[in-house]
């Protein structure tokens, strides 16, 4: 199988037992908090249904709603720019910045800006870029990528961060999270007040009111969208929703699913009020194509809560960096290939046990597990499985359609399994499968045999 790159990263992640510790701790806490927040909202499931419906509506009517948003937003004095892909999006942003003669940028957390590699581009063009979300500030200092959708510095301990601040900011060494946060607050306050431009993402774009919705806990997004001379929001097309009425269910489920809060500390529903001038860069990057795919379009319903990451046993074990993508975890395995190009993460759906926990917790009812399975099927159909795997499945299918042959081989297999010394497989392929598993003890005789001995009737199947 040609999944070597993925296999390598998985093996390397699995070889480091300490790697999963911060993830285990964080995701366990997140799961408990989510469970509590969900339980205490009596109509959570109803809100979830409404939220899912609102998101499906968005995806099914994407072009219409984008057009509506555009009309309202520009009528109110906002500016819209359409960017077909990553290059266009980057160019858009630099064009806006140069229009306002902006050199320094303060940024709120935006997955889309990671997707289009905006920071790297701006830095290369000579702009000063300051990430203001504490987690993003930390990973920016460390020169690393974020490891989780809502908690970018999840993989770093307070000791790591203490060393980082001490070395990169020249402050006195401290491991106290309160002190570390204070240091970041002071450093960034200057940036907020001095930056020429603020760049954020957006959680939603409301079509009927022409508003941008931004959710956060720190207040850095409020600062980025209010204090500098211009506000640029880089937003994927799929973020549009039809009406402010939809915000009721969506806000009811989002924070609860993400962090177990009833509401984040700050929810800004921004009109294009002119102060500062607001620019929305609408980025496509494969979204409008995906919206037309009847099976896969529901991937675009994602509201970036991270609940699927928190519940995924694979993510918990291998961590966010092993996905090697702007989007990690179960939803990341679906988003990556569509938005970043098929040479990015096409193999990620295989980093899943298909346990289905993600589908259970998704607040907008995306059937993630089933979509992962379907992406795996597509991968095999296009890239092809190895010869030995195809041969193995062919043999299996030939046996399964011949009941008599099946019964004979089953008896043989029982005999072998009951025999000694078969716990840890012979060749490497079996070896990988049985490592960490024990082969089961077979029953002494088959069910059919016991059934008919007990007087039950058996009708012998014919070949299918």
């Amino acid at each position: 199988m040609s999944l070597t790159a993925l296999r390598k990263r998985l093996v390397s992640a699995l070889a480091d037992p300490a790697l999963s510790l911060p993830y285990e701790k964080a995701t366990a806490t997140a799961r408990a908090k989510r469970a509590q927040a969900v339980a205490e909202l009596p109509d959570f499931e109803e809100q979830r249904t409404l939220a899912a419906r609102a998101r499906r509506d968005s995806v099914e009517n994407l072009q219409e709603l984008i057009r509506l948003f555009e009309e309202r937003f520009t009528h109110d004095g906002g500016h819209i720019h359409r960017a077909h892909d990553t290059l266009a999006a980057r160019e858009c942003v630099t064009r806006i910045l140069s229009h306002y003669q902006a050199r320094s940028v303060v940024k709120g957390k935006s997955m889309l800006s990671e997707e289009i590699g905006l920071n790297e581009h701006l830095l290369a063009e000579g702009y000063e870029v300051y990430e203001s979300d504490l987690g993003e500030f930390i990973v920016q200092l460390a020169g690393q990528r974020p490891s989780h959708i809502t908690a970018p510095a999840l993989h770093l301990s307070r000791v790591d961060i203490a060393h980082l601040f001490h070395e990169k900011l020249g402050v006195e060494y401290t491991e106290d999270p309160v002190q570390l946060t204070k240091i970041a607050r002071t450093a960034l306050r200057e940036r907020f007040l001095g930056a020429d431009a603020g760049i954020t993402g957006a959680n939603f774009l409301v079509a009927d009111t022409g508003q941008i919705v931004l959710l956060e806990n720190e207040a850095n997004i409020r600062m980025s969208a209010t204090l500098p001379r211009v506000h640029i929001a880089v937003v994927g097309l799929e973020k549009v929703i039809r009406s402010s009425v939809d915000l009721g269910p969506l806000l009811s489920v989002l924070a609860r699913s993400a962090t177990g809060q009833k509401m984040g500390a700050y929810t800004s529903i921004l009109g294009a009020d002119g102060s500062p001038p607001r620019h929305v860069v609408l980025v496509d990057n494969g979204r409008s194509t995906l919206a037309q795919n009847s099976v896969r379009s529901e991937i675009l319903s994602c509201i970036r809560c991270g609940a699927c990451l928190n519940v995924c046993p694979v993510y918990e074990r291998i961590g966010g960096h092993a996905y090697d993508s702007a989007y990690s975890g179960p939803i990341g395995a679906l988003l990556g290939p569509h938005h970043l190009g098929t040479d990015h993460g096409e193999d990620l759906p295989f980093a899943s046990s298909l346990c289905g926990a993600c589908s259970e917790v998704c607040p907008v009812k995306i059937d993630i597990a089933n979509l992962l399975r379907s992406e795996r099927q597509r991968y095999v159909e296009t890239s092809g499985a190895s010869v030995s795997e195809r041969f193995g499945w062919w043999v299996w299918s030939q046996v399964m359609i011949r009941p008599k042959l099946y019964r004979i081989l089953a008896r043989v297999a029982r005999g072998i399994l009951q025999g000694p010394g078969l716990g840890h497989g012979g060749n490497t392929a079996m070896g990988a499968w049985v490592q960490g598993r024990e082969l089961p003890e077979p029953a002494p005789t088959s069910f059919v045999h016991q059934w008919s001995r007990a007087g039950g009737r058996v009708s012998r199947g014919k070949r299918l």
Binding site: P22, K25, A26, T29, A30, H75, D76, S132, D133, L134, G135, I138, A151, A153, L154, S157, R158, P177, V178, L180, T181, A184, R185, L193, D208, T209, G210, Q211, N217, E218, A219, N220, R222, M223, T226, L227, S243, S244, V245, L247, G248, P249, L251, S252, T259, Q261, K262, M263, G264, A265, Y266, T267, S268, I269, L270, G271, A272, D273, G274, S275
Partner: protein
């Protein structure tokens, strides 16, 4: 449970971490009473530089505040007096006063009101308008809200409806004559916070560190 009780109950845990307290929610019977209690807080916490929103409903509170502070200062020798400045209502849409953001960063306290209060999540809703600047609830480290219980609604759905209903009604009709734009609504639920370091809750992050709310239950 009535909405006032519910709001207070939901707000309490938002103001605490394991080791620290970051504000309070109080009930009182008049704006004047609220003003007196705010004065006590300012005096107790040694807070000197205060900016107050232009909102007219705050007038009785501010008068009472001045009165109470004069009494406090009469009994204290030396030291700085509390300086209370008031925003003036400005341009129709913007809610910004003539002060720069840098100036706002020097105030210790911002005193404002609320346009809607959501009981389910203890959320304070501020509509941006001429009567309260955005910086007031963002830059000073202490944010004080004095608001009437008449602003209470049960859940977010109700708040959205009351804020945006007039827009929904106008959907489909021409909006050429409208001077107004879609309103900006800021929903505040507790002080600024983060858990980005080992998932340990720290208050504040970048925004206000202390949030005090006085709920005025006028008859």
């Amino acid at each position: 449970m009535n909405l006032v009780d519910r709001f207070c109950r939901e707000m309490q845990p938002l103001l605490k971490t394991k080791d620290s307290v970051h504000g309070a929610v109080q009930r009182c019977e008049s704006y004047a009473e609220a003003g007196r209690q705010v004065a006590e807080l300012l005096h107790r916490e040694n807070l000197r530089r205060v900016i107050v929103a232009a909102r007219e409903e705050l007038d009785p509170a501010i008068d009472a505040m001045h009165g109470a502070l004069r009494e406090f200062e009469a009994s204290v020798t030396g030291g700085e007096a509390v300086r209370i400045e008031r925003e003036t209502p400005t341009q129709e849409k913007l809610g910004d006063s003539s002060r720069t953001f840098g100036e706002y960063a020097h105030y210790e306290v911002g005193i404002g009101g609320a346009d809607v209060l959501i009981a389910e999540s203890a959320t304070i809703g501020l509509r941006m308008g001429p009567y309260e600047s955005r910086a007031l609830s963002l830059l000073p480290p202490t944010h004080i809200v004095i608001a009437s219980t008449s602003k209470l609604v049960e859940r977010i759905h109700d708040a959205l409806e009351s804020s945006f209903t007039h827009l929904n009604r106008k959907r489909g009709s021409s909006r050429e004559n409208e001077a107004g734009t879609s309103p900006t609504l800021t929903l505040i639920t507790g002080p600024s916070r983060t858990a980005d370091i080992e998932k340990i809750l720290v208050l504040p992050a970048h925004g206000p560190s202390q949030l005090y709310l006085w709920l005025v239950e006028e008859s």
